[in-house]
């Protein structure tokens, strides 16, 4: 090396030393530019040693996160306000929206290939055990305790059932983004005419009312409609019906309960309602067709998720917008269930976990949700569900609040093998609805056996 090349290196080294010394002696620019909270997770997953003196919200400015969500009103409503988050944090968000089924496939493949393409994804509550068990999701308890942004922290405000649905074996894996409970939709005029003016409160009343309307309907009007097709989404309604009779789909030892007298009675009632008092072709009708049946005036009652409310009273969607009533779901021993929650989770392979945490905290915050009051009804915080604004703005608001209080995710077999269980049970339900109540005992026994085999193979009964 010549002296001419050595000289600039000496100058640069000296400058670097001076700059480092001055930086070490510097004090924080202002009192509010404080450090990160103690114990905040770092990008490498170890405890932080020293953090730059900036507020938590600005600590990850300049990072870019990629999110994968599915196309629906709550997603659009939230992303419409994305600028607020980007301005507050300096984090850039790139979003990809897909149809629900496509999103689930894409996130599962991304998780399993460990590419870490997406930092944040929508995860339905029934996939939380599967993904958490496989190590795909980042545990969030530490983030919740040490990286809380006060104005976005809704941990104490989340509806308990929605928050619980994001946990697996006691560990939090997502923040509830969307929560839906089951309510009864009914035609007020027909209930007045055929069911003594009161919406049915019990399963017996529901069955009697459905029969009365069907008998009077002359093949054009039917008393009740619900999900009867063989697709996975059908699973929830009949599983919630079994819950109403006092048993869960799986017992504490993960044994399916489909051959218990309660489950047989529940499904006999469900199948009778659909086969005898439901529209023609119930065995091919999923949730969308069932909703259409009541919107078109073909069916008089329908128990389903509360987010259908705006459609029911919409003059553009419903033939009877002013004659739709809302009531609690029918009860046997317990209220029937069709609980649904979708959360926002962080990919365990994400390279921007802290920035992703800030995003999901903001997206699920009560303050963010409150701005969307005119646009959606599936909020996940009690402060909004309890508010007068919600009660007046959302069709059936008071009923939704009561239904949320009795909502119980336990009706659902939240285990990683849920997909296989749903595949078997939905096909059995569809067959029972097609063949009628006489087929219930045999089909339930067959489904019970098949599900037992699946769980045995998965190692549940060792």
């Amino acid at each position: 090396m010549t002296s001419s090349t050595r000289k600039p290196i000496h100058v640069l080294s000296t400058l670097l030393l001076v700059v480092t010394f001055l930086a070490a002696c510097a004090t924080p620019a202002s009192p509010e530019a404080t450090t990160a909270p103690p114990g905040a997770p770092t990008q490498q997953g170890s405890a932080p040693t020293s953090q730059p003196a900036v507020p938590l919200t600005k600590m990850y400015a300049g990072e870019t996160i990629r999110i994968l969500m599915y196309e629906q009103v709550p997603t659009y409503s939230t992303l419409d306000r994305l600028q607020e988050f980007e301005d507050a944090t300096g984090i850039k968000v790139e979003s990809e929206l897909l149809a629900e089924a496509e999103m689930i496939k894409k996130e599962t493949l991304d998780f399993s290939s460990h590419t870490g393409t997406y930092d944040v994804t929508n995860v339905h509550f029934w996939y939380v055990p599967q993904f958490a068990n496989a190590g795909y999701l980042e545990p969030l308890d530490q983030y919740a305790s040490s990286m809380s942004v006060p104005e976005w922290d809704s941990m104490d405000d989340f509806v308990p059932s929605y928050l619980d649905s994001q946990k697996y074996e006691g560990t939090l894996y997502g923040l509830p983004f969307q929560g839906i409970v089951q309510i009864l939709y009914y035609r007020t005029d027909l209930i007045q005419q055929y069911c003594n003016g009161q919406p049915p409160a019990t399963m017996d009343e529901l069955t009697a009312c459905a029969k009365a309307i069907t008998d009077a309907g002359g093949g054009e009007m039917f008393g009740y409609t619900d999900r009867g097709s063989a697709d996975a989404a059908t699973f929830m309604s009949p599983a919630g019906w079994i819950y109403a009779w006092g048993v869960n789909f799986l017992d504490d030892q993960y044994r399916p309960q489909l051959t218990t007298p309660e489950a047989i009675a529940a499904m006999t009632n469900y199948v009778t309602l659909l086969h005898d008092f439901g529209p023609i072709g119930q065995a091919g009708m999923g949730w969308a067709e069932a909703e259409q049946a009541i919107l078109n005036g073909v069916a008089a009652m329908h128990v389903d998720t509360h987010d259908l409310g705006p459609d029911m009273v919409s003059p553009e969607r419903s033939r009877f917008p002013t004659e739709i009533g809302f009531a609690m779901p029918p009860k046997q021993v317990r209220y029937s269930q069709d609980f649904f929650a979708s959360g926002l989770s962080i990919n365990a392979d994400s390279k921007h976990k802290e920035a992703a945490w800030l995003f999901i905290q903001w997206a699920t915050a009560a303050s963010t949700q409150k701005e969307q009051l005119a646009e959606r009804s599936d909020f996940t915080v009690s402060s909004i569900l309890n508010s007068d604004d919600y009660q007046t703005a959302v069709p059936g608001g008071s009923v939704i609040l009561e239904a949320a209080k009795v909502a119980d995710p336990a009706y659902f077999p939240a285990i990683p093998e849920f997909g296989a269980l749903s595949d078997v049970f939905s096909a059995a339900v569809s067959r029972m609805v097609a063949e009628g109540p006489d087929s219930v005992a045999a089909q339930m026994a067959s489904a019970n056996e098949e599900i037992t085999k699946i769980l045995e193979d998965a190692g549940y009964y060792k």
């Binding site: 496939k105 599962t108 399993s112 599967q130 068990n133 496989a134 190590g135 093949g219 009867g228 097709s229 063989a230 697709d231 996975a232 529209p279 023609i280 072709g281 119930q282 065995a283 091919g284 009708m285 999923g286 067709e289 259409q292 049946a293 078109n296 073909v298 990683p416 093998e417 997909g419 296989a420 749903s422 595949d423 939905s426 096909a427 059995a428 569809s430 067959r431 609805v433 097609a434 063949e435 699946i454 998965a458």
Partner: protein
């Protein structure tokens, strides 16, 4: 200098002469030069595409089919040997799905062929507006299968559908075509036939239009009836296009997924669940990737076997001609 001479002089000869390539041959330019003069260089791009898009995915699927790989489990995939294939062969659901697939494929192919032939014969005449008619008739084939499925699902709807409207105006009671175990598969087959009859029409019409006139004129002079001409002259001469139609229809029908998925989801019960639906459910609902890959590879082997038979018949007919 011919291409062969040129190649031999600069490529093959050099490769077989045992000479060490000169320093200039080791440069990038030299390698490109040699590649450009190598026979296989012409087909290399196609080979690479085939390897990437066909051979690698197939081998990868084969590898997966030998693993126990459940995306629901935290444990990494383990070698299962032929366990996934054995699992399939002992599953009643697999054999039922295979049976439905064979029914779907055979009925749909035959119906498509029959209707396509009928329409081709009708259009092979001097008809007014023949070109417009031909264009309109191929519309179903160019519509996305998902759209076809949704449209037919709506048409079959007992309350709102057009088909049930006509049935009820004739005084019959409404039929839940997609909501009954004994009608769901047939209803999906009808949709498939509707969509792919134009495909048969196009091939057979092209075949009919290319036939020589002399044999028909000779048969007419001999006093043969129209049916006899069709049976003994037209059909034998159309054997090639007919077998090509069967070949493609068997491959398409065997793999029909979108329409069935949208229309029935394989239900009610599993009354319209075909093999590809079953493989999909194993993979993307149960998340059992090994079993799903095994089912898909079984389908590949079966379709390959069927197409080999059809191709053998086709070659036989070409030799006879």
């Amino acid at each position: 200098m011919s291409i062969e001479q040129h190649t031999s002089k600069r490529g093959t000869t050099a490769l077989h002469s045992g000479q060490t390539p000169g320093r200039s041959d080791l440069t990038v330019r030299g390698l490109i030069d040699r590649l450009a003069n190598w026979d296989m260089g012409f087909v290399l791009p196609a080979v690479l595409v085939m390897v990437m898009l066909v051979i690698f995915p197939t081998l990868y699927a084969l590898a997966i089919s030998l693993l126990r790989w459940h995306l629901t489990e935290a444990t990494p995939p383990t070698f299962a040997g032929l366990g996934n294939y054995l699992f399939l062969f002992t599953e009643t659901r697999f054999w039922e799905a295979l049976g439905r697939t064979l029914i779907f494929t055979s009925v749909s192919t035959l119906a498509t062929l029959g209707l396509g032939m009928l329409l081709a014969v009708l259009l092979n005449r001097a008809l007014p507006g023949k070109n417009l008619l031909r264009t309109l008739l191929i519309v179903p084939m160019v519509v996305t299968p998902v759209v076809v499925g949704l449209t037919w699902r709506f048409m079959y709807n007992p309350e709102l559908g057009m088909i049930n409207y006509f049935i009820s105006t004739l005084g019959f009671s409404k039929v839940a075509f997609l909501g009954q175990i004994n009608t769901s598969l047939a209803s999906v087959i009808v949709t498939d036939v509707w969509q792919y009859t134009p495909f048969a029409l196009l091939i057979l019409l092209a075949g009919l239009e290319s036939l020589p006139h002399e044999p028909f004129e000779a048969a007419q002079i001999d006093g043969a009836s129209a049916f006899r001409i069709f049976w003994q002259v037209t059909l034998p001469m159309l054997r090639g296009p007919l077998l090509v139609t069967v070949l493609f229809r068997v491959m398409f029908s065997f793999n029909t997924f979108d329409t069935i998925y949208v229309m029935t989801g394989g239900g009610p019960g599993r009354s319209s669940e075909t093999l590809i639906m079953y493989a999909y459910r194993l993979g993307f609902e149960q998340w059992h990737m090994g079993e799903s890959a095994a089912a898909a590879l079984f389908m590949l082997v079966l379709v390959t076997f069927l197409t080999r038979i059809i191709l053998r018949i086709l070659r036989g007919s070409e030799r006879a001609a």
